[in-house]
């Protein structure tokens, strides 16, 4: 079973076809980089895989579920970290972790382990999210997703706003997730940064996906 299998998928945002017939597949245990210019459709592709958008045309299978028929059961199995942190500004880091953890049925030790992993325990734990820096928010959002131990990671510019430490943690997160048999889709502009930790690269442009073969990729 593919973790993700898209065939000629069209996704409309309003009347705009953000994805215009994209096809790609990702296997479990694989980390894949999505590259491409701004507005190419990378974020839309990740949101589609998270079950947040409906495929207008084509076939979209994620974790064995057909997104045309059932998007609900996919949602709780993916770890999606997008541009929005999906955190409550008025709640502290700890409260956010606890709320989202309990909502997803994650036990306390797992939540704390994820927080440790993202290094947001201690002083930061009791600070309201509104007072966090962009990087600290990103860490918290990643911790919320990590606590759920997702089968499919969908990371949208995960390195943005992070310091060197944070970037290393994200890289380790990607590698470990893939090693543990999970699938990872990372959209990023920092090709040199992500290249070493991914197995494949896919270019998204004009709402279409094209596989980049290792050597060919270097020539371009």
């Amino acid at each position: 079973m593919h973790a993700v299998d898209l065939q000629d998928v069209v996704v409309l945002l309003g009347r705009f076809p953000a994805l215009a017939g994209a096809s790609l597949s990702v296997e479990p245990g694989e980390a894949v980089l999505l590259q491409g210019p701004n507005g190419a459709g990378k974020s839309t592709l990740l949101r589609l895989c998270a079950g947040l958008l409906r495929p207008e045309r084509g076939d979209a299978m994620v974790l064995g579920q057909n997104l045309r028929r059932d998007r609900r059961s996919v949602r709780s199995r993916v770890g999606y970290v997008g541009h929005h942190s999906m955190l409550y500004d008025d709640l502290t880091v700890g409260e956010n972790l606890r709320f989202w953890g309990r909502a997803a049925g994650v036990d306390e030790s797992q939540q704390l382990a994820a927080a440790d992993r993202m290094q947001i325990r201690g002083r930061l734990f009791d600070v309201p999210v509104a007072r966090l820096s962009a990087g600290q928010r990103r860490r918290t959002a990643l911790a919320v997703a990590a606590a759920r131990r997702p089968e499919l990671w969908l990371l949208d510019e995960p390195h943005a706003g992070l310091d060197q430490d944070g970037r290393d943690i994200v890289d380790a997160l990607i590698t470990d997730a893939a090693d543990a048999g999970g699938a990872v889709l990372v959209a990023s502009h920092e090709l040199e940064r992500v290249e070493p930790v991914v197995d494949r690269r896919i270019t998204i442009a004009g709402g279409l996906a094209t596989e980049v073969r290792r050597n060919e990729g270097e020539q371009e």
Binding site: R75, S76, V78, S85, M86, Y88, W100, A103, A104
Partner: protein, 224 residues
């Protein structure tokens, strides 16, 4: 998690946010008090008129304040994409809806109680039937909370939310205004209508909207 645990989780989250930001207590309740005082100016501080119309002015003010409270309740989810977080969390839409209703009702109760003190002091209103007053108050606030959460979710993070919500919600709340005013009129001894009958209508309204909210919230959360 059971349905009740989920409801408690959502309601607890919203109330914790209120506890920290104190929007209902420090902004909406003072606004409501201000309206009560302004009504006094508008009616030329006519003691008899104010006392007679205290129930109606009270509930009109609660409805205006509830518009603000519904906006706040929606805004909590609309910021930083928490709405999507709820979709991804796997929580049942019905429990998200009911949890939001519980939290909104609790906040409206704070406003309503502060406001009650306001009409007792500024309008010299007196309570002749406290049991009826409390029962009808709760019923009315439940109805406002149930309908407000439903229509609030319907508008979601729409840019036009602030202008569309009042025109959508206020006509719908007309029965609540009528019934709650009558019930309060009876409880405050300003009219002779049967307040308990009106209270029944308030609870019927709340029940209809809760049922509809539970049934439709899945559809509403899905795409907005």
């Amino acid at each position: 998690m059971t349905l009740f645990e989920e409801i408690a989780l959502i309601a607890g989250k919203d109330l914790r946010i209120e506890g920290r930001s104190k929007v209902a207590l420090n902004q909406i309740a003072p606004f409501a008090l201000l309206v009560i005082v302004l009504f006094g100016f508008a009616l030329d501080a006519d003691r008899v008129a104010l006392q007679t119309f205290a129930p109606g002015l009270y509930w009109m003010t609660v409805l205006l304040a509830s518009i603000l409270a519904v906006h706040r309740s929606v805004a909590v989810e609309a910021g930083e994409g928490a709405r999507e977080g709820l979709l991804l969390s796997g929580l049942r839409p019905a429990s998200v809806y009911l949890g939001k209703v519980v939290a909104l009702v609790a906040q409206l109760l704070i406003v309503a109680i502060v406001l009650l003190g306001g009409v007792l002091i500024f309008y010299s209103a007196s309570i002749s039937d406290p049991v009826l007053l409390v029962t009808s108050l709760l019923g009315a606030v439940l109805g406002v909370g149930a309908a407000g959460t439903l229509y609030g979710a319907l508008l979601g993070s729409q840019r036009a939310r602030e202008t569309v919500l009042p025109i959508l919600l206020l006509p719908v709340l007309a029965p609540v205004l009528i019934a709650a005013t009558r019930a309060f009129g009876d409880a405050m001894g300003t009219t002779t209508s049967d307040g308990w009958q009106w209270t029944q209508l308030l609870y019927a309204f709340a029940a209809i909207y809760c049922a509809f909210g539970v049934l439709s919230h899945g559809v509403l959360m899905e795409e907005n």
